[in-house]
């Protein structure tokens, strides 16, 4: 039995005054750096948990996806940033695969916004995630994790992702705290401008 996952929770308690937890989700394909990004900014070592979808909870649309299985398990990682005495932000690294989206409403309702983490060597992995986020009406930005591959012009990435001009696209190095912080700040700034527009009288 490994005790790794139990240490950070107990060793780094939240202030007793915290009363509002917020969520941001980082979506991306396998190996794109979601957990690396969570780790670089989290005050706790990333924890891992899972959700089980029983057959009864499966919609009609996806019957084919889980045929012959009684349950489907989706694992996800998360970290935490205490923002102030009242607010704490939970950062979820979530797999973009098809089955994950059936759990969106259950796990991620109320999410502030999402970061789509993209590896330009596997751009197609991100298409489905972007499509689903749009479907859920979830505001997002796209961050290209730099794996040291060939340079891509932003306009080429936009084109490959069929990304509209009003979705911010930035470069990042998920290993670097400062870079991951910039990704989060870019997302929240984007949300702020959308929110100011929406809440305008």
């Amino acid at each position: 039995m490994d005790l790794k996952s139990s240490d950070p929770v107990t060793s780094s308690p939240l202030p007793s005054t915290v009363n509002n937890a917020l969520k941001i989700v980082i979506v991306g394909g396998f190996g794109v750096g979601k957990t690396t990004m969570v780790r670089s900014v989290s005050e706790i070592r990333p924890l891992s948990t899972e959700e089980v979808m029983t057959r009864a909870g499966v919609g009609i649309d996806d019957a084919g996806e889980v045929k012959g299985k009684t349950t489907t398990t989706v694992a996800f990682d998360f970290g935490r940033i205490t923002l102030n005495e009242q607010m704490v932000l939970y950062l979820f690294g979530a797999p973009g695969q098809q089955r994950f989206w059936f759990l969106w409403d259950r796990l991620f309702s109320g999410t502030l916004g999402a970061v789509v983490l993209v590896d330009t060597r596997r751009v197609q992995d991100s298409w489905y995630a972007i499509d689903r986020l749009e479907h859920h009406g979830m505001p997002f930005i796209v961050a290209r994790n730099d794996f040291g591959g060939p340079e891509h012009r932003a306009e080429d990435i936009r084109k490959a992702l069929d990304l509209s001009e009003d979705v911010p696209l930035i470069e990042c190095d998920a290993r670097q705290r400062a870079s991951s912080k910039k990704v989060l700040v870019t997302l929240v700034n984007h949300l702020y401008s959308l929110s100011t527009r929406e809440h305008a009288p």
């Binding site: 007793s16 937890a21 398990t73 932000l89 259950r106 929240v188």
Partner: protein, 124 residues
Amino acid sequence: MTRPVDREDPDRLYIVTGGRSRVDESSIDSVSLIVSECDPTPGMQSEHVKILRMCTSPTAVVEIAAELRLPVSVVKILVCDLLDTGRITARHPSTTAVPARANSKTRLPEPAVLKQVLVGLEKL
């Protein structure tokens, strides 16, 4: 990554929850913060004991799930038990009140809330 539930006898999850499979999901969020209001008492179900010990400071449902190695939905059921008997209190996120599906657009938090998030992130 460990995948305890996959290897787990499904009967265990059945026993832990007393066979219940549904909980009023809208009442507990995956990041609702749970706070113990009492100490464990003898004879209490071991999962309940663990939750009460963990939550002496506010702890999110997902953190409890990670610690207990149980699916989030199972932890929600356990948390409901403790809520019903007043052994814990839950601080629900204030941003999840509005259903995202109403007009197919997620309602954005107020600018003031986002400003606070930005200030908090800048301290990183």
